[in-house]
Symmetry: C2
Subunit: 169 residues, 2 copies
DNA sequence: CGGCAGTATATAAATGTTTATATACTACCG
DNA sequence: CGGTAGTATATAAACATTTATATACTGCCG
């Protein structure tokens, strides 16, 4: 199970609560994993039962008491073993990519509109992605840039394919 | 559920059996979705019950009778509606990417070894990925190329960071 | 001081995915 | 003719993920 290991990895940097981990996971796509908090809380419980993390309750000025977890040495060992497993090229698994795969099934107009929307999403993501300080972040940024180029090229192709369409009224 | 819609999309190109669909899905990463056959067979049953596909049994010279499905007009409608849903930037969800995100936690030696292994996987994938005939395939290929550049850059950086290591004996 | 907004944890139910295993049919080899 | 390799379908069990909902605590605004 990767979620547990990613959580261990994050806890290796600093102790955190389930809430914190949810925010970090959501905020850093370069981590390569995402999860809802509803999944994180039970995962932390399992890690606690397994002795991979330790718990300290702290009351906070805002909201109910925080349950802060920190990684144990057993957790560090487990994480290291997971980290050493062999890499492979990930298979994409995303509804948006599946929709893009059927772009050619759509009318030239909606195809262009989809590409333009996707392009906007990409450029927004890019402006909120500062130049990377880690290999994974540099990777993420380069891929976003490439995808933006791709979108531009496809938009251009789509436009030039339409040059004979009714222009204006 | 995206799997069902991807299957409808594939069946829109040509009728196929569950086996065929499994092969196509496995063979084309640009489709943006992957699934085991154990998931495909029940999905096809549900599509059949829903009237989105029609079934014809055909015995084949090899193996047990094939159950060939073809899309119905209800299926086409359902697919078109799914296709029109808004795109978003996919959140990555892959163990390998998560491992890459913690590259910096590893020793310079294993970091370099991981990058080199990953680089090899990328270049193998690339040689088996012909230049794309669809937008999604072109996208996939460009991203693989970029990732290869990234790996090269990271390997170079990793090597130059090691210039003062013991060289040779 | 009542209610709202934000932080924080939690759980159930539904849904989706993976892994392991079983089975059937045919062709071909030895 | 028996075994095995390849095609094809199928199901159960285990596991993971998403969605919806509930609850608690605090500060602050009106």
């Amino acid at each position: 199970m990767s979620l547990a290991h990613v959580l261990l990895g994050l806890l290796g940097r600093a102790p955190a609560s389930g809430w914190d981990l949810g925010s970090r996971l959501a905020g850093d796509p370069a981590l390569g994993w995402s999860a809802e908090r509803a999944q994180i809380y039970p995962a932390l419980r399992r890690l606690l039962r397994g002795g991979f993390v330790a718990l300290r309750r702290r009351r906070s000025s805002k909201g109910p008491p925080r349950r802060e977890y920190r990684i144990t040495s057993a957790g560090r060992r487990e994480f290291r073993e997971w980290l050493a497993e062999p890499l492979e090229i990930p298979k994409p698994h995303a509804a948006s990519l599946a929709r893009l795969a059927f772009l050619e099934k759509r009318s030239p107009e909606t195809r262009l509109a989809s590409l333009e929307l996707y392009r906007i999403l990409l450029s927004e993501k890019l402006t909120h992605t500062p130049p990377g300080t880690t290999a994974a972040r540099r990777r993420r940024r380069m891929l976003l840039e490439t995808e933006l180029h791709w979108a531009d090229a496809e938009i251009a192709a789509s436009l030039s394919g339409r040059t004979l369409s009714p222009e204006g009224r």
